[in-house]
């Protein structure tokens, strides 16, 4: 079932068009990979889904973008609720300068949860799901900024899970990580697929091939093609996709 539906969706920063009439559907419980060279609009599309582009002055959209059947750019949309539903992990891990515990509990506290037991459970549950619990359970009060890069990124993932979202959006989550940390993140994603719909923007085509169910290829703001990852990587239907995944450019 399609839980995200874009129809002729365009996006502009001021006079610059960054997305051109994107039409795509994302199905419930799948991992959709978005690949493409720098400046192809893949991050912009991801940030359009949780309306994070709104933070940039001059950001403007055209066309339709639906999440769970509702036009998210309609005036009556609650942006706060939308963003809680689509948790986002950024390219560089951004732990907030506070303890590990408080980082995970942050989203719940924003929503007004004060119950200590409830927060404790949420923190443990989220850390277990990202395989971080065993590593940090004895130092939850320690600053999150002292964790290693890979641990920080898994913390950011755990922080998102604590929001109890329906979607996880990842914006090149392993671009600054070593191979072992990358592997751990990918392993977590495979586990999480059971419960969440995941959109993974990556400029590592091999990563897309390893973890995604379907892949979309973006180029200069346009969706070139989208399809089953296996089929796309063996027999892409567009020659530009072929050039990109075989490493001829990008």
């Amino acid at each position: 079932m399609a839980v995200v539906r874009a129809k002729g969706f365009s996006h502009y920063f001021g006079a610059t068009q960054t997305l051109n009439k994107i039409s795509i559907e994302i199905n419930e419980g799948e991992i959709l990979g978005i690949i493409g060279p720098a400046g192809s609009g893949k991050s912009t599309f991801l940030r359009a889904l949780n309306r994070l582009n709104d933070l940039v002055p001059g950001s403007r959209v055209e066309g339709l973008l639906e999440v769970q059947g509702r036009d998210i750019y309609a005036p009556e949309t609650s942006v706060v609720e939308l963003r809680r539903k689509l948790g986002m992990v950024f390219a560089t891990p951004v732990p907030l300068p506070r303890s590990i515990y408080e980082n995970i509990a942050f989203g719940a506290r924003l929503a007004g949860v004060r119950n200590k037991q409830q927060l404790d459970d949420l923190v443990e549950d989220s850390l277990v799901k990202t395989a971080l619990w065993e590593e940090v359970k004895d130092r939850l009060e320690q600053s999150a900024t002292k964790l290693s890069g890979g641990q920080q990124q898994r913390l950011c993932l755990a922080r998102i899970l604590a929001l109890q979202p329906d979607f996880i959006l990842l914006d090149e989550p392993s671009s600054g990580l070593d191979p072992v940390s990358t592997m751990k993140i990918e392993e977590s994603l495979r586990q999480l697929k059971k419960d969440y719909t995941i959109v993974l923007v990556t400029n590592n085509t091999k990563q897309a091939a390893r973890v995604t169910d379907r892949t979309a290829f973006f180029l200069t703001g346009e969706l070139v093609e989208v399809g089953e990852t296996g089929a796309m990587f063996t027999a892409p239907s567009d020659s530009r996709t072929n050039d990109y995944i075989s490493g001829r450019f990008g």
Partner: protein
């Protein structure tokens, strides 16, 4: 011609060292000189007795209270207004004509000599609004004077908080207000506190603006409408009118010790805060 790199390094090091040494020397000299002249008259009765005979005898209890009252009043008024303005300028408006005008205005305000603030406070608060020479008039005038410093340092502190922190907060469903109060302000607090501490120092040391607005009464102030002199004004009058140089130096010593103590305490607290939040 190019110097031998080793020689260049040696000369640069020597010259920069000399400059630094000179600066530190002047600072230490002033502090030691004032303390040497002032410490001999310091004792518990100097701190706890009111001035007698125009300040020739007795202590400086009422000027200490006057200083405390004026400074706290100025800080209590200027801090919320200043931080509020800084938050508005950095978080709630896009950079544009309006912010440039406001910023330009506040910078001009920062460049105005304090005696002009004194005159302004005298005309507005003392005469027009009828507060008379009082702690209220003086505190309000000082608040205006330190406002630009608090706005400026506040703005810089807020701006130095990484944009990514805000993105994280927004992306997790934080509202603007939650983002500002829970993420941006805690991270900017050390910088904001620096501005407030600088302002405390300026208020304590200010003489010209205060003499016009708070007057120079020697009695212990009893309300916001009492006239009161601060330590700086007391020092100025004692020295200017040749009433008592030893007591003037005693006052100066107390002033310097107070400012040093405030700085040390503030930096200690700030370090503890930074440790907790990073």
């Amino acid at each position: 011609m190019r110097l031998n790199p080793k020689k260049e390094q040696l000369i640069a090091r020597a010259v920069l060292w000399a400059f630094t040494l000179f600066t530190v020397f002047i600072l230490v000299f002033i502090i030691l000189y004032v303390l040497k002249k002032g410490l001999p008259v310091l004792n518990s009765s100097f701190l706890t007795k009111n001035p007698e005979n125009m300040g020739k005898a007795g202590g400086i209890f009422s000027p200490i209270i006057g200083t405390l009252a004026l400074t706290s009043m100025a800080i209590l008024i200027a801090t919320p207004f200043g931080i509020g303005t800084a938050i508005f300028l950095t978080e709630y408006t896009a950079e544009g004509r309006l912010t440039r005008i406001i910023r330009f205005g506040s910078e001009c305000l920062a460049g105005i000599p304090s005696i002009i603030f004194g005159l302004f406070g005298f005309i507005l608060f003392v005469t027009k609004l009828g507060f008379g020479w009082s702690i209220l008039s003086g505190g309000l005038t000082l608040a205006f004077m330190i406002l630009p410093t608090i706005i400026r340092t506040g703005e810089e502190a807020l701006r130095s908080v990484p944009q990514s922190f805000r993105e994280v907060s927004f992306s997790m469903g934080g509202t603007k207000w939650q983002t500002v109060t829970r993420v941006v302000l805690p991270s900017a607090l050390p910088g904001i506190a620096t501005g407030v501490i600088l302002s405390v120092g300026r208020s304590i040391g200010e003489t010209a603006a205060v003499i016009f607005t708070a007057g120079s009464a020697l009695r212990l102030p009893t309300s916001l409408f009492s006239s009161s002199r601060t330590m700086s004004v007391h020092f100025y009058i004692l020295a200017r009118e040749g009433i008592s140089m030893p007591n003037a130096y005693g006052t100066a010593a107390v002033l310097i010790i107070a400012i040093l103590a405030i700085n040390f305490a503030a930096y200690y607290l700030m370090n503890r805060f930074i440790k907790r939040y990073s």
